[in-house]
Amino acid sequence: MNRNNQVILLVEDNPDDVELTRRAFEKSKMLNEIVVAGDGQEALDFLFAGVAPSVVLLDLNLPKIDGLEVLRRIRADERTKRLPVVILTTSTEEKDLISGYDLGANSYVRKPVDFAQFVEAVRQLGLYWLVLNERPPVTGTRT
């Protein structure tokens, strides 16, 4: 699996959210490449193709394969089972929180309505997952 240089995978189907998330990353001076997958299938295709992002930002409400199922398949696959996955979603429904953590999410962040708060959240996320966090060692046979 190719350790790409600090790529972030954003799994998000809403173009507005994609744009605002990109903006929030810019605003918080995180200049990493952001790869966007518009649905769950795209996200899995990307991951299983051999690119290991630093972190996956995963929305839950997705077309085709929903976020929780994407997470389940990520954890079920030998190549991606240790990948840091942050659920970044609108819902704070308890059942989503529980399912998310049960399936092995590393974090659960709710997107706030206030953009200023969102920028702050993204800044902290980036700081933590891209700077502070030590990534898991690469698994699998391919390099």
């Binding site: 507005d16 605002l20 609108t90 819902s91 429904e93 997107k111 706030p112 309505v113 206030d114 953009f115």
Partner: protein, 535 residues
């Protein structure tokens, strides 16, 4: 027979013949009950229904044919097959046996194998399995006769000859005694002498009809069968009129006829009542079934509505907030990237758009919480309310680091409640207290507990803006606000949520306030005299 053994009732006055028959039948695995007379057989039918009756035709008292008729007259017993035993073939009693409603007859001298064949055939047709009666009731009893006559000799004669017929006879030597006996017993038939000293037959007859209506058959006895006497007697309510004589044949026949009519009428009434009762039972059962079905429909409906509500809340939580983020985010982008290109007014508008989007976000969050506390499963347990209050106030202090609020929170206040929901209550009530004391120089917020009707009453008191008691009733309704948004911002859902939580614990909440002097919110977490919270 593979099922429970069939029960057979033998009605036979000869002990030896009964015993022989019993052995024969029990050998076949049937259960046998024996009654020596029709009267005792009928008595036993009051308690218990056999699958077959084997009756001797020649019985003392009520004969086999009469037994048949009585069994056939009763709805419960009419389906029981009856096998009549006759003396000899060609003796003349067979036709009588069959006429009376017996299903079959055999001569007593018939070979046991033949008898058993007949019994088996009848048991096959028998729909009646031995069963206890649903309504133990005196369908059958020996007819009770009261004889009233001032002549002891004739009274004795009456008693003896009627007892021989299988009746239960009570004697009374005067009209007065007769009436006294009637008052304390239930008789089917009264025989009364027309001419007696003091209270005569006419008077007795009249009184019987006054008190008992026509439920007792009355036969007037007289030595002189004059037209005048007959008219008087019948006018007084007698059912029949019989001349006194040593020969009891006529009297016996009349009694039999009268009683048969009376029993028939009673039986009819009983059947009518039973039908009515069955109809009532059926109506009741129908109503109960309809109720159950209606309930099931309602419960199903409620479950469906709850699921719908859950799905609705979920989609509100997801889909309604997303556009708000866009509105706020792009307004913010405009401000940041192009703010310098527009004047102050345009910038102000953009700020207003952002504020509205954020407020709507709060409204959605609060509404979701309101609907969530209504749906969440209660998980009560002991909660240290004091400690929870400290935690909540610490957060409020962090949210307003510049505020100086004097907090009064005693230690060790406990409650039996759902911890998470109680925290929502404290967050809202303390949050309000902080909010409404923001313009007070020395803000004091006090938490405490008292007691009312054996239940702890918790309270949170502040010395803030307060409210007009005239509007106290509106406090807990969703979207009701007693202060303008510009002075004290809020969604107006917090207290509705608190109310819902308190209500779900079986408690109640109320408030006292004075404008400009502060407010106190009281609440309980259990019904009065309900499971007591430990303090």
């Amino acid at each position: 027979m593979t099922e429970a053994p069939a029960q057979i009732l033998i009605v036979e006055d000869s002990e030896t013949q009964a015993l022989q028959l019993r052995y024969l039948l029990e050998e076949q695995g049937w259960e046998v009950t024996h009654a020596p007379t029709s009267e005792s057989a009928l008595e036993s039918l009051n308690r218990y229904l056999p699958a077959l009756i084997i009756a001797d035709y020649h019985l003392p008292g009520i004969r086999g044919d009469e037994l048949c008729r009585r069994v056939r007259m009763n709805v419960d017993t009419r389906a029981i097959p009856i096998l009549m035993l006759t003396m000899e073939e060609g003796h003349g009693s067979e036709p009588a046996g069959l006429d009376s409603g017996a299903d079959d007859y055999v001569s007593k001298s018939v070979a046991p194998e033949i008898l058993l064949l007949r019994v088996r055939a009848l048991l096959r047709t028998s729909g009646t399995r031995a069963s206890a009666l649903a309504h133990p009731d005196s369908h059958f009893h020996r007819a009770r006769i009261l004889a009233i006559d001032d002549s002891p000799t004739y009274l004795e004669l009456l008693a003896q000859s009627l007892s021989g017929e299988g009746y239960e006879v009570t004697k009374a030597a005067s009209g007065k005694e007769g009436l006294a006996r009637i008052a304390g017993n239930s008789f089917d038939c009264v025989l009364v002498d027309l001419v007696m000293p003091e209270i005569d037959g006419i008077e007795v007859c009249r009184r019987i009809n006054e008190s008992a209506g026509h439920s007792i058959a009355v036969i007037m006895l007289t030595a002189r069968e004059t037209k005048e006497d007959m008219t008087r007697g019948l006018e007084a309510g007698a059912d029949d009129f019989v001349g006194k004589s040593g020969d009891m044949t006529v009297l016996k026949a009349r009694i039999r006829a009268l009683l048969r009519r009376k029993f028939f009428q009673e039986e009819n009434r009983r059947i009518r009542e039973e039908l009515l009762r069955n109809e009532l039972d059926a109506a009741e059962a129908r109503a109960a079934q309809e109720l159950t079905m209606a309930k099931a429909v309602l419960v199903g409906e409620l479950e469906r509505k709850n699921k719908e509500l859950e799905a609705f809340s979920y989609s509100v939580s997801h889909d309604l907030r997303a556009p708000l983020r866009s509105i706020d985010g792009f307004s913010n982008a405009l401000l940041e990237d192009y703010g310098h290109q527009v004047d102050a007014k345009a910038q102000h508008y953009l700020h207003r758009i952002r504020a509205a989007a954020q407020r709507m976000g709060e409204l959605i969050d609060d509404l979701l919480q309101l609907s969530r506390v209504g749906r969440a499963e209660l998980q009560p347990g002991p909660v240290d309310v004091s400690q929870l209050a400290q935690v909540v106030n610490k957060e409020l202090q962090q949210a307003s680091p510049d505020r100086q609020v004097q907090l009064v929170i005693p230690d060790g206040v406990m409650a039996n409640a759902d911890r998470r929901l109680l925290q929502v209550v404290l967050e809202n009530l303390f949050g309000n207290a902080w909010k409404f004391t923001k313009n007070v120089a020395e803000a004091v917020i006090e938490f405490g507990v008292g007691e009312d009707a054996g239940v702890p009453v918790y309270y949170i008191r502040d010395n803030g803006a307060g409210f007009d008691m005239a509007y106290a009733g509106k406090l807990f309704a969703p979207f009701q606000r007693l202060h303008s948004e510009s002075k004290f911002p809020g969604t107006g859902i917090g207290l509705a949520t608190v109310y819902r939580i308190v209500d779900r614990h079986g408690g109640r909440i109320w408030a006292e306030g004075t404008v400009g002097k502060g407010a106190t919110f009281y609440w309980t977490l259990s019904p009065p005299n309900g499971p007591k919270d430990s303090i």
